[in-house]
């Protein structure tokens, strides 16, 4: 069984298999990654780091492309607004 990694997404604790991306963690938490310029909820589109729809703030760093970032224990992920 793969190891699990625990992190928080918008304050909620989420457990994912080690090696999963932050975008997956956000999806498992049933959250949107970001709010668009006019306030629409958005999630990953291209899955390869090009569309920028998967952006979240990770440990305070804004505009992090979550589909290319692996989850680490204790990461604090929040919606990019």
């Amino acid at each position: 069984m793969p190891d699990q990694v625990t992190l928080t997404v918008n304050g909620t604790s989420v457990s994912v298999p080690a090696g999963a991306t932050v975008a997956v963690a956000v999806a498992i938490a049933r959250q949107a990654c970001r709010k668009s310029v006019t306030g629409e909820p958005r999630g990953p589109l291209c899955g390869m780091g090009i569309c920028f729809e998967c952006r979240v703030a990770i440990n305070g760093r804004a505009h992090s492309r979550s589909c290319q970032i692996l989850c680490e224990p204790g990461m604090e992920v929040s919606i990019d607004e």
Binding site: P17, V24, I28, L45, F52
Partner: protein, 430 residues
């Protein structure tokens, strides 16, 4: 502050997909110093993307082992964003940026999916076909979820088969190409028996999943996320409840960096000679940026480029025959999966076309060029730098893209602040 580093290579490969890996391996086998750069955490690009479950793609395994055995320097998690001078590119990673010097550059930047706007396409859980597959490979649970697969291109079947294998329920695969086009394609496949074998295998994997040519999505519905997809099929609309929509309209080559280098672009692809050399001295290009051709062609082109750069020209020549065969297959694909004009009528006035800046379709109509639209509506001024809305508006309005400026990808200000010109310096003199 960025960490300043400098690395030197005889051959530097940009892009860790099949073309790049093949180029790196063949060049390294000839004994030259090779480096390969890719922005993902592990090599493989898109088609060879590894999965959480199974590790690297099976096809890729022996190539990846060769890479390691040959001592090729792998620079993962790094993006090339600029060329300050001949023989030098700059790359940014999560922590810092660095300078990479080369004698020969292999551009193997691959392709991305083409997205076309339609009402509701911005809802969470509407993704590209390759996009959803990438997410599943990265750990997204898909067992028992309903996924409508739609759009165009061979990727759809491959993705549908993959998702099906992993327990997704697939109510339908909508291919916008007509039965006629596909029948001609299948007949022409007789010249490519290997492909027929692949096709049969996919069909078997898909079992009873309905594959419907001549159909396409017209709207995605849902409040906070996708709840159902409306498709058009034989002139009739059908509503299909689902959890995900995997929708992509074939592929667009990633030609931004070669454009910045000054490589001649012909018909939207990087122009290369029979040795995969671009019009810029010392720069090769292999794989999708020279023409959407799929895995086999990418591997052949990558090898030709790598061998040529390393001086093994005779060996490179030996591959010309198999390349010609693979090219004819890729041309067939282009014709088969051409976009039908009805797809231009999909967006409504309020449909968002530029997702970064939330610019609606109605605001874009009436502008005569990409540049005018950009200036007056901000379309294309977001972080995707027009990679998503560019191909869409090119299809909708026939706009031609702008010239490319550095950075070819959003990077931190400090990474650009570290760029300096080196007059006359080149890897050869090092």
């Amino acid at each position: 502050m960025s960490r300043e580093e400098e690395r030197h290579f005889d051959v530097l490969v940009i892009g860790g997909g099949p073309a790049g890996i093949a180029a790196a391996v063949r060049a390294a086998e000839c004994g030259v110093q090779v480096g390969i750069v890719d922005d993902n955490a592990t090599l493989g690009g898109q088609i060879w993307r590894g999965s959480l479950e199974n590790g690297p793609a099976p096809d890729a395994l022996h190539w990846l082992r060769s890479l390691q055995k040959l001592g090729v320097t792998e620079l993962s998690g790094m993006r090339i964003f600029d060329q300050p001078d001949t023989g030098i590119v700059r790359a940014e990673g999560f922590e810092g940026s660095c300078e990479l010097r080369y004698r020969y550059l292999m551009v193997a930047t691959g392709a991305r999916e083409r997205f076309l706007p339609f009402p509701g396409w911005t809802l969470p859980n509407v993704m590209g076909a390759g996009g959803l597959q990438a997410m599943v490979k990265a750990g997204l649970p898909i067992r028992g979820r309903r996924v409508v697969v739609a759009g165009t291109g061979p990727l759809l079947l491959a993705v549908a088969a993959y998702l099906h294998e992993h327990g997704a329920e697939i109510p339908i695969v909508c291919e916008q190409a007509s039965w006629g086009s596909l029948a001609r394609f299948s007949a022409a496949l007789l010249a490519h028996p290997g492909k027929i074998g692949q096709g049969i295998k996919l069909k078997r994997q898909l079992g009873r999943v309905p594959f419907v040519p001549g159909s396409w999505p017209v709207a995605a519905h849902g409040r906070e996320r996708l709840e159902s997809v409306e498709i058009l099929r034989h002139g009739r609309r059908e509503m299909i409840p689902c959890d995900y929509l995997a929708c992509g309209f074939h592929l667009v080559p990633n030609i931004e960096f070669p454009s910045l280098l000054g490589c001649k672009i012909q018909g939207g692809y990087v122009q290369v000679d029979e040795f995969q050399r671009t019009t810029v001295d010392g720069v090769f290009c292999a794989g999708e940026p020279t023409g959407i051709g799929g895995l086999e062609l990418s591997l052949i082109e990558g090898q030709i480029a790598g061998l040529t750069a390393a001086g093994a020209v005779a060996s490179a020549r030996k591959l010309f025959g198999s390349r010609n065969k693979a090219v004819s297959f890729s041309r067939m694909m282009d014709r088969t999966f051409q976009l039908r004009t009805e797809l231009r009528t999909l967006p409504s006035a309020e449909t968002i076309v530029c997702r970064c800046e939330d610019v609606a379709y109605s605001r874009l109509q009436g502008h005569t060029s990409w540049r005018a639209a950009k200036l007056h509506t901000r379309c294309g001024m977001g972080p995707c730098q027009g990679r998503i809305c560019g191909p869409a508006t090119q299809f909708l309005f026939q706009w031609q893209p702008d010239s490319v400026r550095p950075p070819t990808f959003p990077v931190r200000v400090e990474s650009l602040a570290s760029v300096t010109e080196h007059r006359g310096a080149s890897a050869l003199q090092q």
